[in-house]
């Protein structure tokens, strides 16, 4: 029975222990530790929120950059396309111009050749006429009158001319 009756001296020592402990721990040590824990908790919460914000921001930026990248690509393609078109049109122009010039040169050359040919033909006719008159005079002598003379030339010229036309 005496083992379940508390002994008074132990009560007082324990009361003193409680008072000392409650003052030292409850009022002195615990607040510092709980303050540390609370501050850490708020710090971690803050950091997590900040990290979340940063992640969202990063994602937004990434999307933005993707859009910009796509735009830049499209623009570049457009520029290249445009450049090719310009080049092609320039090429066509140059070729056309060259063709026109070549045609003009050719025409000019042909005309020059024609003129040369006409001049040469006229020269030849005249030469032939003179020569034939001279030949005829030699053969017939001066018996031919002026009138006969001219008639002969014309006849001959007509012959030569018809030959020339063939």
């Amino acid at each position: 029975m005496d083992k379940i009756i508390p002994i008074s001296v132990e009560l007082f020592v324990n009361l003193a222990a409680f008072v000392v402990l409650f003052l030292l721990l409850g009022k002195f040590a615990f607040p510092s530790i709980t303050k540390m824990m609370d501050e850490r908790a708020s710090k971690i919460r803050e950091s997590l929120e900040k990290a979340e914000d940063t992640r969202v921001e990063a994602e937004r930026l990434l999307d933005e950059y993707k859009v910009q990248m796509a735009e830049a690509r499209a623009e570049a393609a457009q520029v290249i396309e445009q450049g090719r078109k310009v080049a092609e049109s320039m090429k066509a122009e140059i070729v056309a111009k060259a063709k026109v010039e070549a045609e003009a040169e050719k025409t000019k050359a042909i005309e020059a050749i024609k003129a040369e040919k006409a001049a040469a033909t006229a020269e030849l006719q005249r030469e032939v006429a003179d020569l034939s008159v001279a030949v005829a005079s030699k053969i017939i002598g001066s018996s031919l009158t002026k009138k006969d003379h001219e008639a002969l030339i014309d006849k001959y010229l007509a012959e030569v001319g018809s030959l020339n036309e063939n």
């Binding site: 379940i4 009756i5 001296v9 324990n14 003193a16 409680f18 409650f22 002195f28 615990f30 540390m36």
Partner: protein, 314 residues
């Protein structure tokens, strides 16, 4: 016997029966004499001061309490017993531990270094258990306000229980003087909180549940009062009995070992390894009980405070 020998008793004690007990220890290794010795050493023994007086008053419990109120013998009221002697290093360790953790917390806060480490990490684990799993879980968010008290109770009980597991020491909580007084402190605190929160009238009225028939009211009130006054007693006896019984078990198996070694017989050859095994198992179990009882004591404290806070609601 290593687990249960009360080391301080050897130098300080003046009682003739104690001296005789030590004399007999050298010669007799019979089971009954050792168990008698264990029983003696696990009893509450005053280490100095008016020892004979205390032991004499022990037989008449009421006179012990009344004589304690004599202020003239104030010093004698602080006489240590073999249990409260071991409470001192436990309290000292507890204070040193939390002071070290406190200064670590201060240093960390000043440096804005929030990485938990070292002693502070250990202290925070304990504080978080009491504040989170005991106070806040039982009492809700406002429970954190009562953490300093519940935490003091928890760590006092925990350190005493654990120190009792280091061989020469006895647990400071292994005597009713300690556990009953802490039960009374809890009783005073939770009733004080209840009265402060609800006012004396409403708090007393809450002892009668609403809807009680008129004729039953005095009986119910009486029963409630009795149940409230039983709380410190049950708190005290639960903790005391657990710690005391644990040390009796350890002591008994240690005696089996000692007697089996001293008087070696075929039976002893079987008893010795089994007793040693039990000693090991019980040591582990005592560590578990030490933490569990601290948890139970403080969670009941939290439950009582919670009941007092919400007394007006039922």
């Amino acid at each position: 016997m290593s687990g249960t020998t009360a080391e301080p008793a050897e130098g300080e004690v003046t009682a003739t029966e104690e001296v005789e007990g030590h004399g007999g220890e050298e010669q007799e290794y019979t089971l009954s004499s050792r168990i008698e010795h264990l029983n003696h050493e696990l009893s509450v023994l005053a280490l100095w001061g008016p020892l004979e007086e205390q032991q004499a008053e022990h037989a008449e419990p009421m006179s012990v309490v009344s004589s304690s109120w004599n202020l003239g013998s104030l010093a004698s009221n602080f006489t240590l017993t073999n249990y409260t002697f071991w409470m001192m290093p436990a309290v000292l360790l507890l204070v040193l531990f939390f002071m070290a953790a406190r200064s670590a917390a201060k240093v960390s806060l000043a440096k804005a270094d929030y990485v938990p480490k070292g002693i502070l990490n250990v202290a925070e684990a304990g504080v978080d258990l009491v504040r989170g799993n005991i106070c806040t879980d039982v009492m809700g968010p406002e429970g954190a306000k009562y953490f300093p008290f519940v935490g003091t109770v928890f760590f006092f009980v925990l350190f005493n229980n654990l120190l009792g597991n280091i061989p020469p020491a006895l647990p400071g909580t292994g005597t009713l003087g300690t556990t009953f007084l802490w039960g009374i402190i809890v009783f005073v605190v939770y009733n004080g909180i209840g009265i402060k929160k609800n006012g004396l009238g409403r708090y007393m009225k809450s002892f009668i549940p609403s809807g009680t028939p008129g004729a039953m009211k005095p009986l119910i009130f009486l029963l409630e009062i009795v149940s409230h006054f039983l709380r410190p007693i049950t708190l005290g006896i639960r903790l005391y009995a657990n710690m005391y019984a644990g040390h009796i078990m350890l002591g008994v198996f240690a005696i089996f070992c000692a007697v089996a070694i001293k008087n070696f017989t075929p039976v002893g050859a079987v008893v010795l390894p089994l007793s040693f095994l039990m000693q090991v198992v019980l040591r582990a179990f005592e560590l578990f009980v030490a933490v569990l009882q601290a948890y139970i004591f403080s969670i009941l404290t939290a439950v009582y405070i919670n009941g007092a806070l919400h007394a007006a609601e039922h």
